[in-house]
C-alpha cells in the first residue's frame, strides 16, 4: 500500500464546492480523504502550508510532437514541462507525423506515454485522414484505442459537409469535436492579427472574421447534428458572443482560451519577434477584454495552453517565415494568477475550475476533483511568491516562449500524479 499525505494547505475543490484548510490523503493512487488532521502516521508527508491544494490541473490542448517531430518535443519532455507547469493531465493534438488518424498511432502514443510520461497523456484523434479535410479518419477505432476527442487542430476542416459528418459520427462515440476555427481563405498568407498594428508593421493580416465565420458555421452544424462541440483557443469578441448565444439556447457547446490570448495583445509585435507569432494571432485590446469578460461570466469553460514547441532554428528567421505557435505549459498558472486572480477579475476557485472541472466536463474525463475515490492527481501552487521564468531552464525541448524573463507572482509548487510527486519547485 502506497500513500501520501498533503497537509496544511488550503484545499480548493470546485467539484464539491470545498474551499478551506484541509489535508488530502491519497492511498494507492486514489483520493482517500480530504479533511482536518487526517490520521496517516505511516504515510509520507508533503507540507503544503501556505499553499493552494487543488485537483490535478488538466491542459486539454498541447502539441507533443511525437511521433515524427521529436527534435522539437517528445512525449517525455512535454510531460515533464507539463508537470513543471502544474499539470497532471494533458491532451495531445493529432498533428504529428504521421497524423494521429488511426488506432495504430493512437496506441503508439498511449503506449509511449505509459512508458515515459510522468503525467497522464490523453490523445486527441484527427477528424480527417491525414488532417487533409477530405475523408473521415478512423474515429471509431481511435476511440477504442483511447482518444478523448477529435480535432484537426492546425489544419481546420474547410469542407462543411465533412465537418457535419464528423459531428454526426462523434455523437455515436460520445466524443467532443474540437475545431481550430479558421477560414483558410480569409486568413491566407496572414502573419498577425489584422488591424492597426499589422498595417503599421507591414505584416499581412489574419482578420477576426476568419475565426468568426468558422465558429458560426460550426455552431450551426452542432445544432443540426446535436454534437458536443468545442471551440479551441477562442480569440475574438464576436466568437465569445456567438458561443454565449449558442449556450443560452441550450446547445452542447464549450470553448477554451489560452493564457497568451488574455495576457497580451498584438501591440507586442513591434520587434518582429517570432515568439509572438501564433494562430490564432494575438488580438487587440477589445478582443482581450471580451475574452476576459467571457472568463468572468462563465462562457469560457477552460484555460488551455496550445503548447506548440518549435526548434530554435525554425524560430530564428524572418517573422513571416517562422512557424506559428509558442510553448505555454510552464507559464499558464503564473499568467492566469497574474491576469485574472491578482487583478481581481475572478476568484481563485473560478481559476481552479478553468483548469479542472472545466476541461474535465468538456471531454467527459473522470478527473478534476478531489472527491474520495477520484484519481490521486493533485496540483499544489503558490499565490504570492515571486519568480522569474527562464526559458533556458524549461523542461520543454523548445525555447519559443514570449514570456522569457517575465516576473510572476505565484506559480506551481508541486505536481502529484496518481499519488506520486512527479515534480516540485526547488
Amino acid at each position: 500500500m502506497s500513500s501520501l499525505l498533503i497537509y496544511g494547505g488550503r484545499v480548493i475543490d470546485p467539484a464539491s464546492g470545498f474551499d478551506g484548510l484541509a489535508d488530502v490523503l491519497i492511498v494507492d493512487g486514489l483520493i482517500e480523504a480530504v479533511g482536518l488532521n487526517l490520521n496517516a502516521e505511516s504515510a509520507p508527508r508533503f507540507d503544503a502550508t501556505g499553499r493552494i491544494v487543488a485537483p490535478g490541473f488538466i491542459d486539454m490542448h498541447v502539441h507533443l510532437r511525437e511521433p515524427g517531430i521529436e527534435h522539437a518535443e517528445t512525449i517525455e519532455t512535454g510531460a515533464r514541462a507539463a508537470a513543471a507547469g502544474g499539470f497532471t493531465t494533458i491532451c495531445c493534438m493529432a498533428n504529428t507525423i504521421p497524423v494521429n488518424d488511426s488506432a495504430t498511432v493512437t496506441s503508439y502514443i498511449v503506449q509511449r506515454a505509459r512508458e515515459v510520461a510522468c503525467v497522464n497523456v490523453f490523445p486527441i484523434g484527427a477528424i480527417t485522414k491525414g488532417s487533409l479535410g477530405e475523408e473521415l479518419a478512423a474515429i471509431g477505432s481511435m476511440h477504442s484505442a483511447g482518444i478523448v476527442a477529435i480535432s484537426d487542430d492546425g489544419r481546420p476542416v474547410m469542407n462543411a459537409r465533412v465537418m457535419r459528418r464528423a459531428m454526426e459520427l462523434a455523437r455515436a462515440f460520445d466524443l467532443t469535436v474540437i475545431d481550430h476555427c479558421e477560414d483558410l481563405n480569409l486568413s491566407a498568407g496572414g502573419d498577425m492579427h489584422e488591424g492597426m498594428q499589422s498595417v503599421r508593421l507591414g505584416l499581412r493580416g489574419i482578420p477576426s472574421s476568419s475565426e468568426d465565420v468558422m465558429v458560426a458555421r460550426d455552431l450551426l452544424l452542432a445544432e443540426q447534428t446535436g454534437a458536443r462541440f468545442h471551440v479551441a483557443h477562442l480569440s475574438t469578441r464576436r466568437s465569445v458572443a456567438m458561443v454565449a448565444y449558442a449556450r443560452s439556447r441550450g446547445l452542447k457547446v464549450s470553448c477554451e482560451v489560452t493564457p497568451h490570448h488574455f495576457a497580451i495583445t498584438d501591440e507586442e509585435l513591434s520587434g518582429y519577434d517570432s515568439n509572438y507569432r501564433m494562430k490564432p494571432p494575438l488580438r487587440c485590446h477589445a478582443d482581450v477584454d471580451a475574452i476576459i469578460d467571457g472568463i468572468v461570466s462563465g462562457v469560457v469553460d477552460a484555460i488551455a495552453t496550445d503548447h506548440a514547441p518549435h526548434a530554435g532554428s525554425e524560430k530564428m528567421q524572418e517573422f513571416e517565415r517562422c512557424p506559428f505557435g509558442i510553448t505555454g505549459l510552464e507559464t499558464a498558472i503564473g499568467l492566469s494568477l497574474g491576469e485574472l486572480v491578482h487583478k481581481g477579475r475572478i476568484p481563485l476557485s473560478r481559476m481552479v475550475e478553468l483548469f479542472t472541472t472545466g476541461p474535465a466536463n468538456v471531454l467527459k474525463l473522470d478527473r478534476g476533483t478531489l472527491k474520495p475515490g477520484a484519481q490521486g492527481d493533485v496540483t499544489v501552487f503558490d499565490l504570492d511568491a515571486e519568480w522569474t521564468f527562464d526559458v533556458q531552464e524549461s523542461y520543454s525541448k523548445s525555447r519559443n516562449s514570449p514570456f522569457n524573463g517575465r516576473r510572476f507572482r505565484g506559480g506551481p509548487i508541486a505536481t502529484i500524479v496518481g499519488g506520486k510527486p512527479v515534480w516540485n519547485r526547488v
Binding site: A188, G189, E194, G195, M196, S198, V199, R200, L201, G202, L203, R204, G205, G271, Y272, D273, S313, M316, Q317, E318, F319, E320, R321
Partner: protein
Amino acid sequence: MTSELRTAGLLDIESLDRAEIEAILERARFFQPPPGETYRRLDSLKGKTVVNLFFEASTRTRVSFEIAARRLGAETITIAAQGSSVSKGESLVDTLNTLAAMRPHAIVMRHAASGAPRFLARHLQIPIVNAGDGTHEHPTQALLDARTILDHRPSLSNLRVAIIGDIAHSRVARSNVHLLSKFGAEIVLCGPPSLLPRELAQLAPGVHLAWHMTEAIQGADVIMMLRVQLERQHEAPMAAGEYFRFYGLRLEHLQLAKPDAIVMHPGPINRGRELSSEVADSQRSVILNQVENGVAVRMAVLERVLGS
C-alpha cells in the same frame, strides 16, 4: 547623433524625431551638387567599409547607396542574394553573422520580409541601414522625397500630399506618411479598397483616406504615385484593365491640384499603368530630381550612421 542611429543604424522613419530628420535633410542639401556639376568627393568616411546586402532585386537604390558611400570615401561591397550563400539555404542570421565577422562598419540591407532589419538589429552589434523591408518601411526613400519636396516648397508644414496606388503593400507610403505627419502635412491616401486598409487613417496624425483620385488630388501640393506591386499582391484589387482608368494619373487630373503641384514617383515607373507617359515627362514631374536627391540623402544618412 542619437543613440538609435549610432547603434542600430536607420531602421525606420517612425522612430526618428523631427529634429533628426531635419538634420539629415539639411546635411543632404549640403551634399547636393551645384547645377551642372557632379557630386563633390569627400573623404569623411575614409577607411570605412559598407556592405550593401540586397535580398531583393534593386537597381536605383543599390547604385544610389554605392555612389553615396564612395563619394564619402568609404569602400563598398555589394552582394546580391542570388548566387550567394543565401541560395544555399543559409539562414538570414547566419548570413549576417558571417558578414559581421568580417567587420564592416555598416550593412545596408534590402529584404522582402517586413521587419527583417529590426530582427537582425536585435542579434547583431553592427549598424543596419534599412534600404526597404517588405511592406513595412523604406526610410531613405521618404527622406529623399522630403528633400525633393523642399527643393520646391519652403516647408513641409501645411502641405497637402496625395499618395495614390497600392498603399497596403507600399513601404514607401508608410515611410512617407510617418515623415510628413511629423511635420504637420495633410496626407490623403488613395487607392482601391483592398489596397487601402481602413486602419491606415490611424497610422499617424493628419492622414485621410479616399477611394477616388479626384478627391485625393483636389488642392494637392504634391502627388505621389506608387508602383503597382504585382509581386506582393496575392489577388487582383479590381478587374484587369480597370486600374489605370480609376487610379492612373493623367494630365487632366493635374487641373484639380494646385497650379504648381509636383508629381513624384519612387520608380521604377510603369508608363500607362500608374501614370501616363505625358505626366511622367511633363514639367510637373520631379521623378528624376528624386533619383538625384537619393544620393545626397544617402550620403547624409551614411555619414550620420558611420561618422566618428
